[in-house]
Symmetry: C2
Subunit: 357 residues, 2 copies
């Protein structure tokens, strides 16, 4: 394995879309929503283990989740977990990791990945990462992994490639498009899903920050010598208090002119909604995704039922519903109303405080 | 208060209609399904306390529920609880209590009541009981309490009265009729609901057993001298093993010719179904009966939601549903399918054993 390659797992998410199963105290990356036998973050770690040395992993997370990260990946040494005091989206997270790695190894290459996605074909994935890492090893190129789209999904970001080569220059980035636009993207054949996986040298992305996010660059550059010292925590606290929240896509990828995309296809999903969980789950002959064999359904179709292990669920007469039961919250919601979860959370918070959130 | 009057509370029920809230280990009489602040059995006890001396209560129950009865009515002395080894319907239950009371007091009058019904107008109820007790105090008459019906309910038994006097001879008993028959009953005006409340002298009902259920009579008469001794438990065990399961209505009331009915009206329900719970509960402006203020409903109508205290329920898009959540079972079922609960129980038992029943 190449000693210069580092895997940076971004695990600071506090998403609410899987409420009530996901909680502020236990967000999606620590859950096993697809019942694979391991959490998303554990799966992500294990996915990279065959191609990255164990000491070359970095996990960036909120300090509130530090202990949970260690629970799920006990192999980590404490210094492999970078703690953010507050979430500031992906750009500061990546800057922090870049400075840590640059200090450790001037030739460090970062393979950046979300902690809560699904990848089905790992062999193919490893080959893609290898190709991407070779492509960016000795130059100043920023590379994103793009996924051949299989449907006009309006929940994903899109990347327009400029050729049919496996790696090509990016023409443009487009955030979640309308259905019409997504359909033209699919027909046109030039657009790939943005998987949120990035590969580049640490010094390359730092250079990109200097050019495109100079305020962020200045904040991190000013504390560079404190990284790896006892002053790191206080310095990072200060930086995060002052720096703006911004995504790496919006802050750098959309602006830089040295951006490339890999045209990949390895069975990927961001598992971003209960709908996608239903889609990805094993279903009975009535298209119901049931969390375990304790779910008894009658006249029920196209529904997702998630109840705790050991609990019995008897469900009669639901079509296209999501039923999620946890110890202290029960949610019953039509699949078409999934986007209302945010509203439910607001209503429950308003009436009952943070306890059930 | 009249020292000869005894209240016999029949509390051996193991009904399944309120599953999963009611369980074999905690049947309906020990629940507070209407959220009144006390269990059915406690309410029944307190309803009679103003008119029956505390030492004149007898509770007949399955031996498995003995401790629960004491929990709910700690005022009872141990000898006030008669334990049945197995359920044999109401006739053996009443025979047992009759022999116990006859031995205690040859002039004993029994006021027999189910343990799990609702009565709204207690003042009126007390007056009815007083009138019934006077009517049967010194003669050999068997008296049932009939309720003026308010709708052609097909879940109740009916008693045909022979006059408009408050107490009249019974023309006939009819078990759960069809809707058409129930409608003619209502129009005819001679029919009352059978509340399962009976009032008579202990020696009268024993005489009736001798005539109409001679096998039961023989079994109990043979162990009469063991009642109140250390041999009672073993003797009752033997009697229950040998005697047939039969209701007092079918076994005696329908056959005897000294049967009377009181024409009553005191706000009564047997609270026999989730539908009746919905009907009797306080409802929000969308006709939803919600178990507590932690139930958040959206686009939901005419539904009953029962979740444990302290748990949040978010319910979207249900019409005419029953949602009952307990620690280890969740049931979601259209109100029109309530009679399927028996089938659900069978299916769960077949797949998972007795644990959730």
């Amino acid at each position: 394995m190449n000693n210069n390659r580092y895997c940076v797992i971004m695990a600071g998410g506090v998403g609410t879309r899987f409420w009530p199963k996901s909680r502020k105290s236990k967000p999606k990356q620590f859950l096993d929503i697809l019942s694979t036998g391991r959490s998303f973050i554990r799966s992500t770690y294990e996915r990279f283990l065959p191609i990255i040395q164990p000491e070359n992993f970095l996990i960036v997370t909120n300090r509130a989740y530090r202990d949970q990260v260690l629970e799920h990946i006990p192999e980590l040494k404490p210094e492999q977990i970078l703690c953010e005091p507050i979430g500031r989206n992906t750009a500061p997270c990546i800057a922090y990791a870049a400075y840590v790695l640059k200090k450790k190894n001037p030739d460090a290459q970062m393979i950046i990945t979300p902690s809560d996605h699904l990848i089905l074909n790992e062999v193919n994935f490893h080959a893609v990462v290898e190709e991407c890492a070779e492509f960016t090893a000795n130059n100043d190129k920023l590379l994103a992994v793009g996924i051949k789209p299989s449907r006009p999904d309006t929940g994903y970001g899109y990347i327009q490639k400029s050729s049919n080569d496996s790696i090509s220059r990016v023409k443009c980035f487009t955030e979640k498009p309308s259905l019409e636009v997504a359909q033209t993207f699919i027909e046109c054949g030039e657009f790939l899903w943005n998987a949120g996986i990035f590969i580049w040298r640490a010094d390359s992305i730092i250079k990109a920050f200097e050019k495109h996010l100079p305020e962020h660059y200045a904040l991190f550059a000013a504390i560079e010598d404190k990284i790896g010292t006892e002053q790191e925590v206080a310095a990072i606290e200060q930086v995060y208090t002052e720096c703006k929240s911004i995504s790496i896509d919006y802050g750098i990828m959309e602006k830089a002119d040295n951006v490339y995309v890999h045209n990949s296809d390895f069975g990927w999903s961001d598992v971003g909604t209960w709908g996608s969980v239903h889609q990805l789950s094993r279903k009975d002959r009535y298209a119901n995704a049931l969390s375990h064999e304790g779910c008894f359904t009658y006249d029920t179709r196209n529904s997702l039922v998630s109840v705790p292990e050991g609990k019995v669920a008897v469900i009669n007469g639901l079509r296209d519903y999501i039923v999620v039961d946890t110890e202290d919250v029960l949610m019953i919601c039509p699949r078409s109303e999934e986007q209302s979860i945010r509203k439910y959370i607001d209503d429950v918070r308003f009436a009952k405080g943070e306890e059930h959130i």
